[in-house]
C-alpha cells in the first residue's frame, strides 16, 4: 500500500521559558491509502496538534511531513493552501458549519474554492449528500439540524475535494452516543472509497472502526 501520510521526528513546543511544554517530541506516523488510524491520548497530550501539523494548519519546529506526495514541512503558504484544498479534509469537534448557509451550501462553498476543477462540482456535492443520507436536511440551516446531522455535513464537506486523507479531530466529542456511533460508522466506511482517515479521539469506542490504534505518550506515537 502507498503511504498518503508520512511524518517523522515531529517536534512542537508551546509556551516559553519555564512555561514551555513540548507536546510532540520526535513523533512519527505513516498512514496508507484507505487506512483508518485512531490516535488516542489523554487531554492535552498533543493529539490535535499532531493533526494540525499533518494538515498544514500549524508548523512543526522540527521533523519531516509528507501528505499526498506534497512536502508539508517548510512549505510556503501557497503550497499549504494547495495541500488543504486538494489533499486534506478536516472534520472538527464543533462541526464549524457556517450558520447562515444551508447544509448543501456549506458543501458548495469549498466546492467554489476548488475553482471548478471537477472535484467540487455540484454533482459531487449531490452525490455526497445522497451517500451520507442527508437529502432531507440539505436545504436546512445548521441550527435546525441535530448534532449528528451537522457532523455528517461536516464530513461531507471534508470529502468535497476528494482528499487523500481526512483528519478528524474528536469528531464525536460533541455528540450523544447514538449519533457518535453513526459518525464513526461513516468515517470507518470511508476506506472503501479511497481516503485514509486519521482519527484523533480519547474515546475507546473509536478503536473499533480503526485499522490501527496509536497512543500519544510523552510526545511520541506508540502502538
Amino acid at each position: 500500500m502507498v503511504n498518503v501520510v508520512t511524518a517523522s521526528g515531529l517536534v512542537k513546543t508551546f509556551g516559553t521559558g519555564r512555561a514551555a511544554r513540548r507536546v510532540l517530541d520526535g513523533a512519527a506516523i505513516e498512514v496508507a491509502a484507505g487506512e483508518v488510524v485512531a490516535v488516542h491520548g489523554r487531554s492535552g497530550s498533543g493529539k490535535s496538534t499532531l493533526l494540525h501539523l499533518l494538515g498544514g494548519l500549524d508548523r512543526a519546529e522540527a521533523g519531516r511531513i509528507e501528505v499526498g506526495g506534497l512536502r508539508v514541512d517548510g512549505a510556503k503558504e501557497r503550497t499549504l493552501d494547495e495541500l488543504r484544498r486538494h489533499h486534506v479534509g478536516f472534520v472538527f469537534q464543533f462541526f464549524h458549519l457556517i450558520p447562515e448557509l444551508t447544509g448543501a451550501e456549506n458543501l458548495l462553498l469549498p466546492a467554489r474554492l476548488l475553482n471548478g476543477d471537477g472535484k467540487g462540482s455540484p454533482e459531487r456535492v449531490r452525490a455526497l449528500i445522497e451517500r451520507l443520507g442527508l437529502e432531507g436536511a440539505a436545504e436546512r440551516l445548521p441550527h435546525t439540524l441535530s448534532g449528528g446531522e451537522q457532523q455528517r455535513f461536516a464530513i461531507a464537506r471534508a470529502l468535497v475535494g476528494d482528499p487523500a486523507v481526512v483528519l478528524a479531530d474528536e469528531p464525536t466529542g460533541n455528540l450523544d452516543s447514538e449519533a457518535a456511533r453513526t459518525v464513526l460508522g461513516l468515517l470507518g466506511g470511508l476506506r472503501e472509497h479511497g481516503p485514509a482517515v486519521v482519527l484523533v479521539t480519547h474515546e475507546r469506542e473509536a478503536a473499533r472502526i480503526a485499522d490501527r490504534v496509536l497512543h500519544l505518550r510523552e510526545g511520541r506515537l506508540v502502538p
Binding site: E77, F90, E100, L141, G161
Partner: protein, 755 residues
C-alpha cells in the same frame, strides 16, 4: 492610583492592538470635532472678536471734506453719543515698500481719541513725525514688519510703528486699497498745513440699542454736509458678508453637521468595542460582578481610553484647521479665536469622553443583563430566523455579504456611521462646487448678465450693437437706508426693462413688481424690516432724498445677504437725477468675452466681469480650498476607520468561520474576497444612504442655516458622485486588504479553537 483604574489600565494594555484601534477611532472623530469647532467658532465669532478688540465704533459717518470744528459741533449735539473721533481719509495715495507699490493707497489721518483699530504688533502712533501704522493685510502681502520703511506719497518715508486690524472692511488685497494710518501731527509737515478738514466721523453710542435715534437726529442736522453716508456696526458686518459671509456661513453650518456625524460615529465605535468583549462580560458576571459594576468597569476603561485619544484628536483637528482658518480670518481683517477657543475645546473634550463612556456603559449594561451562560457563548450571531435561507450565489463575495447581514442591527449601525461620513463628504464636494459657481457664475445669483460697463444709459444701444452681445440695459444700483430704521441699509437695484430679463431671483411670496411704484425685496431685507407684500418701503438715498415703494413681493436673493430691493428707475431718477447707471451686458452663446471687452473699451468703458457672492481674490479662494481639503482628509480617515472597525469586528466574530475556510484551502485572496463582500455590502448601502441623506437632509439644512434668504443648491454633480463612489470603493479595498493581511498572519488553529 486606585485599584479599579490600575485594573482597567492593565486590561487596556493587555489588548494593545484593539486598544490602539479603538483609540485611533476616537482620535479620528475627535479630530473631526476639533476641526469643526475651530472652523465654526473661529469664523462665526471672528467679526465680533475683531470689532471688540478694535473698539469698532457703533456708527461711521463719511462725508465730503468739512472743517473739524463745524462737524464736531454737530456731532457733539447728537443724543446718545458717548464718544467721537475724526479722521481724514485720503484715497489714491501712492504707497511703496520693498519693491512693491500701489497707486490706490488709503491714508487715514487720525487724531487724538479712540482709534477704532487694534494694534496686533508693535505700537500705536505716538504723534512723532515719521511713523505709520499699516493694516495687517498690507503687512502680510508686502512682508512689512515693525521698523520697516514705507514710502507714502511722493518720497515721504515713514517707519512702520505698528500693525493694525480694523474689521470695518476686508483686508488688502481682498480690498483693492491698502490702508495705512498716520497721525495728524506727524502728517502736517509732510502735506502742508491744509489737513484740518476731516471726512470721517467715528461715533460710539452710549446705548448702541438706541443708535436709531442718534442716526435720525444726525440726518436731520446733516443739512449742508455733502454726500453724508452712515454705516453702522451691523452694516459693516454686512459689508464683510458681501465678501465672504455666505462662505463662512456655509462652513459654519458644515462644521455643525460634521460635529453631529462624529458624535454618531463615536457612539457606534464604543458600542462595537463592547460587542467584542461580550465574553469578558460573561466571565465578570459569572465571577459575581453586579450589572452596575460591569457597566462601571467598562465606563472607566472607556474614559481612560477616550481621554488621551480625544485630547490627541482635538489637538490634531485644531492644528489642521487653525492655520487655514486664521488665514481666512486675516483676509477679512478678523482675529483668530486664540484662547477663547479653549472653553469650547474643553467642552468638546468632556463631551467626547462622556459620549464614549455612555456609549460603552449602556451596551455593557444591556449585555450584563443577559444570562451569563448566553453571553459566555460569545458574540456569534444568533441563528437566522426560519429554517430556509436564500441560495448562495457568487462564492466568497456573496458569503461575505451574507456574514455581514447576519446581524442586521450591527449592519445598520455601521452603515449609518459610514453614511453620515459619506454624506458629509458629498456635502463638502457640493459646497466646493457651489463656491466655484459662486465665484465664476453670476447665474447662481439669478443674474442674467455677465459684464457691466460704466457708461451712460444712452450707450445701451451702442453696447447692444457690439458683436457677441445679446442684450444690454442700464442697471441702477443705489446703497439706500430704510427711512424708518436708519440702521438697516440695503441695495436698491433698478432696470427700465422687465426685471426677469436681467435678474431671476426665485419668488418667495407675492409677485414681481409691475409698475414704477412697486418693488420686490429680498428675503434678508424682508426679515430685517418685518416687511411683507403690501408694506411700504421708504428708501433714503445717499443724496438725502427719499423714495417710497409698495412691496409687491419677496424674493430669495443671495446678493448682499438678501438685503436688496428691485424696482424701476423712474422714481429713483426723479428723486435724484444724478444717479449714474452701469450697463449690464448679456453675452450671446459662445461669444468671445475678450472681444466684447475690447468693444466696450472702444466705447470708453472698462468691462467689469460680474462675480457672485465671493471675491475673485485667488488667495482667498485658495484658503477656502485648503480648508475644504483639510475637512475632506479628516473625513476620509473617519470613513476608513469605520470600515476597518466594521471588518475587524466581523473578522473577530466570525473567526471560526474564516478559519474553517482557510482550513479548507481558502488562500489569502479568497479570505479577502469574503471580507470584501462584507465591505462591498456596507459601502454600497452607506454610499446610497449617504448621497440620499445629503440631498434630502444635509444639503437643505446647511443652506437653510447658511442663507435662508436665498435659494442655493448644494446638489452634488455627477463628477462629485463619481469621486465619492470611487473613493469609498478605494477605502473599502484598503480596509479589506489591511484586515485580510492581519487575518492571514493569525494561525488558523487560533480561529478553530475559538468555540
Amino acid at each position: 492610583m486606585s485599584g479599579a483604574v490600575r485594573t482597567a489600565l492593565r486590561r487596556l494594555l493587555a489588548r494593545r492592538g484593539r486598544t490602539l484601534l479603538a483609540g485611533l477611532g476616537i482620535a479620528a472623530a475627535a479630530a473631526m470635532i476639533g476641526t469643526a469647532a475651530t472652523l465654526g467658532f473661529g469664523l462665526a465669532t471672528g467679526f465680533e472678536r475683531a470689532a471688540d478688540r478694535a473698539d469698532l465704533p457703533d456708527a461711521i459717518a463719511r462725508f465730503d471734506d468739512e472743517e473739524l470744528g463745524e462737524i464736531d459741533e454737530r456731532v457733539r449735539a447728537l443724543p446718545n453719543v458717548e464718544e467721537r473721533a475724526y479722521r481724514l481719509e485720503v484715497k489714491g495715495v501712492p504707497l511703496a515698500a520693498g519693491g512693491r507699490s500701489s497707486e490706490r493707497g488709503a491714508v487715514h489721518v487720525v487724531r487724538s481719541g479712540r482709534r477704532g483699530y487694534a494694534i496686533v504688533d508693535g505700537a500705536d502712533l505716538s504723534g512723532r513725525a515719521g511713523e505709520v501704522v499699516v493694516e495687517r493685510g498690507l503687512a502680510e502681502e508686502w512682508d512689512l514688519r515693525v521698523g520697516s520703511e514705507l514710502e507714502i506719497g511722493r518720497g515721504a518715508r515713514l517707519r512702520v510703528a505698528g500693525i493694525a486690524i480694523s474689521p470695518d472692511n476686508v483686508a488688502f488685497p481682498l480690498a483693492s486699497a491698502p490702508r495705512v494710518y498716520v497721525a495728524y501731527e506727524a502728517l502736517r509737515p509732510l502735506l502742508g498745513a491744509d489737513v484740518d478738514p476731516v471726512n470721517v466721523a467715528l461715533v460710539w453710542a452710549a446705548d448702541p440699542a438706541r443708535l436709531d435715534i442718534t442716526l435720525a437726529q444726525a440726518r436731520a442736522t446733516g443739512f449742508g454736509i455733502d454726500n453724508l453716508r452712515f454705516v453702522t456696526r451691523d452694516g459693516v458686518r454686512l459689508l464683510l458678508a458681501q465678501a465672504a459671509g455666505i462662505v463662512i456661513a456655509l462652513l459654519v453650518a458644515f462644521s455643525l453637521v460634521a460635529l453631529g456625524s462624529a458624535l454618531v460615529m463615536l457612539a457606534a465605535t464604543a458600542r462595537a468595542d463592547v460587542e467584542r468583549r461580550l465574553r469578558s462580560i460573561g466571565v465578570m458576571r459569572a465571577l459575581g460582578f453586579s450589572r452596575a459594576g460591569v457597566s462601571a468597569e467598562h465606563a472607566l476603561e472607556a474614559v481612560l481610553l477616550a481621554a488621551p485619544a480625544a485630547a490627541l484628536g482635538l489637538a490634531v483637528g485644531v492644528a489642521l484647521a487653525a492655520a487655514p482658518s486664521a488665514r481666512l480670518l486675516e483676509s477679512l481683517n478678523e482675529l483668530p479665536p486664540g484662547w477663547s477657543l479653549a472653553p469650547i475645546l474643553i467642552a468638546c473634550f468632556v463631551g467626547i469622553v462622556a459620549v464614549v463612556a455612555l456609549a460603552t456603559a449602556w451596551p455593557a449594561w444591556r449585555a450584563a443583563g443577559r444570562a451569563p451562560a448566553e453571553v459566555l457563548r460569545g458574540a456569534a450571531p444568533r441563528p437566522p430566523g426560519g429554517s430556509r435561507a436564500p441560495r448562495l450565489r457568487g462564492g466568497p463575495l456573496a458569503l461575505g455579504a451574507r456574514l455581514a447581514s447576519a446581524r442586521p442591527g450591527r449592519l445598520a449601525a455601521t452603515v449609518a456611521v459610514l453614511a453620515a461620513s459619506i454624506s458629509v463628504v458629498v456635502l463638502m464636494l457640493a459646497l466646493a462646487s457651489l463656491l466655484e459657481r459662486l465665484q465664476a457664475d453670476p447665474g447662481v445669483l439669478g443674474k442674467r448678465y455677465q459684464l457691466t460697463a460704466k457708461l451712460p444709459a444712452s450707450s445701451a444701444d451702442a453696447v447692444r450693437a457690439l458683436p457677441g452681445v445679446e442684450d444690454a440695459s442700464p442697471r441702477y444700483v443705489v446703497e439706500a437706508t430704510d427711512s424708518f430704521r436708519l440702521a438697516e441699509s440695503f441695495r436698491l437695484i433698478a432696470y427700465p426693462d422687465d426685471l426677469r430679463e436681467w435678474e431671476r431671483p426665485p419668488l418667495d411670496e407675492g409677485r414681481l413688481p409691475r409698475g414704477e411704484g412697486e418693488v420686490a425685496i429680498g428675503a434678508g431685507l424682508a426679515t430685517a424690516l418685518g416687511a411683507r407684500p403690501g408694506a411700504t418701503l421708504a428708501a433714503l438715498l445717499p443724496s438725502g432724498a427719499e423714495v417710497r415703494f409698495r412691496v409687491a413681493g419677496v424674493v430669495r436673493a443671495l446678493e448682499n445677504d438678501g438685503r436688496v430691493a428691485f424696482a424701476k428707475p423712474g422714481p429713483l431718477l426723479a428723486a435724484d437725477p444724478s444717479i449714474e447707471p452701469a450697463i449690464a451686458v448679456r453675452l450671446a452663446g459662445g461669444a468671445d468675452r475678450a472681444a466684447v471687452a475690447r468693444g466696450l473699451e472702444r466705447l470708453g468703458a472698462v468691462a467689469e466681469p460680474v462675480g457672485a457672492a465671493t471675491s475673485s481674490n485667488a488667495r482667498f479662494l485658495g484658503v477656502l480650498a485648503s480648508l475644504l481639503r483639510v475637512v475632506a482628509a479628516v473625513n476620509g480617515l473617519v470613513c476608513l476607520y469605520a470600515l476597518v472597525q466594521a471588518l475587524t469586528l466581523l473578522a473577530l466574530e466570525r473567526r471560526a468561520v474564516l478559519a474553517v475556510l482557510r482550513a479548507g484551502g481558502a488562500d489569502r485572496t479568497q479570505v479577502a474576497l469574503v471580507l470584501g463582500g462584507a465591505a462591498a455590502l456596507v459601502v454600497a448601502l452607506a454610499t446610497g444612504a449617504g448621497i440620499v441623506a445629503e440631498r434630502a437632509l444635509l444639503g437643505p439644512v446647511v443652506t437653510r442655516f447658511a442663507a435662508d434668504y436665498a435659494a442655493l443648491s448644494l446638489t452634488p454633480g455627477l463628477g462629485s458622485l463619481l469621486i465619492v463612489v470611487l473613493g469609498t470603493g478605494t477605502l473599502a479595498l484598503a480596509a479589506t486588504a489591511w484586515v485580510a493581511g492581519r487575518l492571514a498572519r493569525e494561525p488558523i488553529v487560533a480561529g478553530l479553537r475559538d468555540e
